[in-house]
Symmetry: D2
Subunit: 360 residues, 4 copies
C-alpha cells in the first residue's frame, strides 16, 4: 500500500477554537513539522545513535556552555525524575516549593519511581529563597531523616512568576554553600528568559545551576523535553536512568531535530516572547473589569484571576481553562505562541461581557 492509498485523516477538531487551560493546548510550530519531514526517510541509528542526536551538543552549547550534556526525553515529568535521580542517592531528599510541579502534578512519580522525599516549602509566589532552604536543613547527618541533597527551582514558576537573576543567584549560592546541588525545572524557562531579557545561559549555567529540565513541548514542539547537565560532576548514570525511566526514544532523530529547530534559531525566544506578550495583553485588558481581580504578577505566560464561579462557568462553555483554587475561585489563563492579538481581544471581551452580566 503506497502512502496515498491510506485514507487521509479527517480533522476532528475545530482549529479556530481557542483554549486557555494550558500552553500545551497549542499545536506544533510549522518549522518543527517541516523538520520532521526533512529527517524522515532512510535508516538511522536508534536510541540516540543518529546524526541529529549527535549534533545536539552543537545545538545546546551556544546557549548553555561547553560542558553541557543533553539527554532528550519524552516529557517534563520524565526530565524531572531522570534529572533528580541522577543527582541523588537512594536516601536523599529534594527541597522545593510546595507548589512545584514535581510536588503537585506528577502523580507522585518522584516518590514512586525514584523513592525521593520532597521537602515542600510554602511560598507566596512559587519562589524559594535562601531562608526557605535553610529552614529544611535541620536533619543533615541524622540517619532518621532523608538527606537534603538537591534544591529544585522552577523558572518560570507554576504561578506565572519569574525569579530575577539576583533571586536565582542567591538560591544557587545558598544551596552550594550548604553542599546542595541545584536542579531547575525549566518547563517554561524560555518564557522566563524572554521576560527577563536575558539568554538561557544567564539563568542557568552562569549562576551555577547543576542540572536543567529543559522544556520544549510547551514552546512549540510536538513532543520533547531534555535533561541538560550543566555540571557533569553533579550527576551519574543519566543514560541508564533515562532508559530505566522509560524515557529513551527509539526513533530519537524525530525528537532531537525538534530541539535543533527551536534552539538553532531564535524560535525559542520568538515563541516565548509572543506567549508572554499575549498574557500581558490579556491582563491589561481585563485588569479594570469589575468583578475580575488579577491575583498575581503577570510575568511569563499565565494570568491568574479571581472571578465569580458562575461567570467562569459561562466562559468555559466557549474557552477551556482551569480553576486553580476551588476555595477562592481563582482561575488560571495560559497563553501560547500560536495565538493572535485578535484571539486575546476576543477572549478579553468575552470576560468583560460575562463579568458585566455577573453571577446571575
Amino acid at each position: 500500500m503506497a502512502s496515498n492509498e491510506v485514507p487521509p485523516i479527517t480533522r476532528r477538531h475545530d482549529p479556530s477554537r481557542r483554549g486557555f487551560a494550558s500552553d500545551n493546548y497549542a499545536g506544533v510550530h510549522a518549522a518543527v513539522l517541516s523538520a520532521l519531514e526533512a529527517v524522515n526517510g532512510g535508516h538511522e541509528g536508534s536510541y540516540g545513535a543518529d546524526a541529529y542526536s549527535a549534533n545536539l551538543a552543537n545545538v545546546f552549547r551556544p546557549h548553555f556552555g561547553d560542558r553541557c550534556e543533553v539527554f532528550p526525553v519524552f516529557n517534563g515529568t520524565g526530565a524531572n525524575v531522570v534529572a533528580l535521580q541522577s543527582m541523588t542517592k537512594r536516601w536523599d531528599a529534594v527541597i522545593c516549593a510546595e507548589s512545584a510541579h514535581i510536588n503537585v502534578d506528577e502523580c507522585g512519580a518522584p516518590e514512586k519511581v525514584a523513592g525521593l522525599k520532597l521537602l515542600g516549602v510554602p511560598t507566596r509566589d512559587g519562589k524559594l529563597t535562601p531562608e526557605h532552604i535553610a529552614s529544611r536543613l535541620g536533619g543533615i547527618g541524622d540517619e532518621h531523616r532523608a538527606q537534603p541533597t538537591v534544591v529544585s527551582v522552577t523558572e518560570s514558576t507554576e504561578l506565572g512568576t519569574c525569579y530575577s537573576i539576583d533571586e536565582l543567584a542567591a538560591v544557587c549560592e545558598a544551596s552550594h554553600r550548604s553542599g546542595l546541588l541545584v536542579h531547575m525545572d525549566g518547563a517554561r524557562i524560555s518564557n522566563a528568559a524572554a521576560f527577563l531579557g536575558v539568554g538561557l545561559g544567564a539563568l542557568t549555567t552562569d549562576l551555577g545551576v547543576d542540572v536543567l529540565s529543559f522544556g520544549g513541548t510547551k514552546n512549540g514542539l510536538m513532543l520533547g523535553d531534555a535533561v541538560v547537565v550543566l555540571n557533569p560532576e553533579a550527576v551519574s548514570g543519566v543514560r541508564y536512568l533515562r532508559k530505566a525511566a522509560m524515557q529513551l526514544a527509539s526513533k530519537m532523530r524525530f525528537i532531537s531535530v525538534q530541539f535543533e529547530v527551536l534552539l538553532g534559531s531564535d524560535l525559542w525566544l520568538v515563541n516565548a516572547r509572543r506567549a508572554n506578550e499575549l498574557a500581558a495583553r490579556l491582563a491589561t485588558a481585563v485588569r479594570d473589569v469589575a468583578g475580575v481581580t488579577i491575583t498575581r504578577p503577570v510575568e511569563a505566560n499565565a494570568v491568574f484571576a479571581i472571578l465569580a464561579p458562575a461567570v467562569a462557568d459561562r466562559l468555559r462553555t466557549r474557552y477551556g481553562f482551569y480553576t486553580w483554587d476551588e476555595a477562592t475561585g481563582e482561575v488560571r489563563w495560559m497563553t501560547a505562541f500560536d495565538s493572535t492579538e485578535a484571539d486575546i481581544d476576543e477572549f478579553a471581551a468575552a470576560i468583560a461581557t460575562e463579568a458585566a452580566t455577573g453571577p446571575g
Copy 2:
C-alpha cells in the same frame, strides 16, 4: 518570526543507506507524517482530552473487541511497565521467557519502577509453554516468595518466532486455570498476525489475553505504543500508573492520530507483511551461502544467522546490525516496512561476497 523565517533543517543522514540492526532504524510512514500535519493547528485538550484520543476506542475496537480500552504511551518499555503494574500488587511476580524484552532490554525498569520480580524461564525459541508456567508456580501462597500473578508472552518473540494460535491458546488456558492473568508484549504483534494470516483480535482477545502492549513504533509510526486493556477486570489504576510512569503525553493528539492511521486502514498489515516478506527473502537468499548458517525459524521480520566474526565485521562497515550472542557469533538482521526487494538483494549479495572471502 513566521515559520518560513526559521532556517530549514539540513539533512544530516544519508537516506540511501540501509541498516538491519533494528526495525526502529526505519523512519515514519508518509501517511503518518501527513496525519501529524492534518491534526495540527488550533487548540485541543491536552493529556488525552482531545478528539483524536476520544476516537481511539473506535480505532481499536474493530480489531480487539468492544470491551477494549486504550491508553497511548511513548514506547514499548512504558507500555509493558504500565501494563504489568496495572495487573499486579506490590508483592507479585511475572513469569516470562528468559529472553523477554522486559527481562533483558529494559534496564531493569520492571524491577526498579514497579518492584516486580520476573521469573524468567529458559526457552529454546522464546516461547512459553504450559509446562514452563507450571514450573514456576511452586511458591503460591508462601509469604517468602513473590507471588506469580501474570504470565507475559511476546508475540512475535524476540527471536523472530511466532506462537501459533494453538500455542497461545494453551498458554492462556493454562494461565487462567492457575489463576494467573496474561499479558502480551505485542511490540511486533502485527508481524505475528501477518505471518499467521489472522487478525489482531484472533491473537489476543479471542484467546483471553488480558492486557496487550500494542506496538506502533516499529511498524511505521514516529512514536507511539499503547496499553490495550482487553479485560477491564484484570487491571486497576491504569490512568494513574501511566502518569506516574511518566508516559502521559501532553499533546496527545499527535500520538493518538498515528494509531488511527495505522489501525484505521490496512497499514498495520501492509507494513508488517512487507517487513516479514523481506526477512524471508533475505533468509532464502543467504541460506545456502557457505559460511552462513540460519539459526532460527524465520517467521516474523528477523533473521538470525551465524557467520564468521571477521565476515560480520566487514559487512558492518556498510550495514548496521547487532551481534546477538558473542559466544557463538550469532547475528540478528531485522527488516522494516520501508525497504525494497533491491535493498535486500544488495545486502544478500554483500553477505555472499564477504562470506566467500572468508574470515581472512
Copy 3:
C-alpha cells in the same frame, strides 16, 4: 561448650544514669525477660508458625475486638510502612500531620520502600482535624495527583499531646465520609489510653480506625511492634508485605510472647500510666522555674520546654535529651516506665539549679 563456659558479659553501662532523650532509652520490663526465658528451649515453628504467635489473636482481641488480626514486626517504622502499603495502591497518597513520624523520622521509608506520597499538613499540636483532611482532597480523580486514600493519625502525637475521643471520632468520620481509610500510628497508644482513661479499643476499633501500628517497644518490651488490622476489608497482602519489608522474624515466638506479657495483663497500662505520671511530675516541678517555659500541654509522657541553650548544654553533660527546635531552643524530655519519682525529682532539681545559674 556448655553455656556456663561462655564468659559472662560485662556490664558496660552505668544503670544508675538516667536519660530523657527517649522512652526507648529504657530497658526491658522484668516480666518480659522472664517470658523470653520461659518460651526458650526446644523446637518451635518459625516465621510465626509457633504456639505463641498462634495465640496472639487471644491476646489482642479482648482489647481490639473479634475481627482484629495481628502481624508482629520489628519496629514502629516497619509497622507503619507495612500497614500503609496494605491499605494503598501504587499511586496513592497519605494525609498526615507535617510532624508525623512517618513524615519526619523514618528516613523517607514510606516514599522509598512503598512509593507513597505523604501529604503533610501543618498543625499546631500534631493533631489532624476534618478541616485539615478536607484541605488535601482537591486532586481526587485527577490523574496528575497521587490519590489520597489514607489518613494517618498519631496517638499520642509526636508533640506529647493526645487526641480526645471526640477529636479522633471526628477525624475517622470525616475520613470515611470522603472514602478514605484511617491508619493510626500507635507507637505510644498506651500512653494516650492511660491519659484519657479509656481502653485501647475505645481509641481505635470503636471509632472505626482501620489499621493500627501498635507500639510495644517504647512501653517495656525488648523489641516488638505490630500491625493490627481492625478492619480486614481495608487491607490486602499484609503477610507478603511484611516479608518483603524485611519485618518477618524467624524465631517469632520471642516477639509474640512479649505482646502476651504486655496485653495479657495490665502491664501496658501500668507502664504507660507510670511514664505519664512522671512526665506530669516533671512538668509540675519545673513549670515555675525562672528561665524554663513549658511549651505544650503535658498529656502523655513528654515534656517540651524552652530554656537557654547554655543551660540545656550543661544539663546534657549528665542527662541525655534532644533539642527539638534549634531555632527556638525548645527541648524534649521523655519519661519511661522504669524511672522513679526520685529520678524525676533529681532531674528537676538539676534543671532548677542550672536555670538559676543562667546562660552564664
Copy 4:
C-alpha cells in the same frame, strides 16, 4: 504493678519435640539469654548510641580485620537488602545463583525495596564459578541492561554445600578483575567455617569479600544479623539505608550484646560445629536405608534426601521438615546447635522404620 505481679507466661509448646525444617526452629543459647539480662536495667542511648554497640568493632575485628564496620540489623533479609543497596546504584544488577536466598526466599525484597535486578545463574550445587560470572557480563555499558555490579555468593549455600577457600578465591578474583564487588550472604557462614576448619576472616576478608551479611539468628541468637563492611570503599550510606530499610533497632543494646556473646568467645564455632556434626550423623545413619537417597554432599548443617512422599508425610506427623522439590520428592533436614546425638538417632530410626514400611 511490680514485675512479680504480672502473671507468668505459660509454656505453650512441648520443648521435647524436635523439628528439622530449619535451624531457626531452635531457641536461644543460654549464654545469650543471660547476656540480655545482664545489659538490662537503666537508661542507655538508643539506635546504636549504647556501650554495647560501640563495642562491636572490638567484637568483630579480631575475626574480620581492622577495617571492618558493623551494622546490626534484625534479620538476614534485612542484612542482604541493606548490604546490596549500599554497594549499588539505582540501575545496577546483582549476579547470584538461581537458588540464592535473595532470589528465592525474600518475597522479592531486593527488587521491591532496592529496585535491583537479580541475574540468577543455574548451578548444580548452589555455587557460582568464574564462568558463571563471565556469562552474565554481556551487557556492561549497554544502557538497555541493568548493570552487573555485585556478585553475591552464599556460604554455606542454600543446598548445604560449602565453597572451598580456593573456589571462593576464584570467584572474588574473577569478580574484582571484571570490576564487580563481592557480597557474601553469610546467614550460615559459621557452619562453613566449621566445615572448612578455618576462621571467619579466612573466608571473607582474606579473600577480598567486600561486604558480608553475617548471620547470628540461625546460630544460637534470639535475633540479630549484621551488615559487616569489610571494604569501606565498596559502600555508601549504610546508616541511612539501614534506617530506610526499617532495620534500625531502637533498643539496640539487646541486639549488639548477642553478637558479643557469639563472637567474643568460641560459641559461634561450637554451635556451628555441633549442628554440622549432627547433620553428618544423620546422613551417615540413613545413607544406607533402602528407600532413602541422600542427594547432595552433606557439608554444613543440612541433609537433602529423596524418599517416597507417603513416607515423608508419615514422618512429618512427628517431625517438621520441608519438601524442597515437589517434582522429585526431595526433602531438606536441617540440624541446629541445640540438638543431641540421641535426638538425631531417634529421628534416623524413625526414618528407617517408615522407609521400611514403604509408600504403603
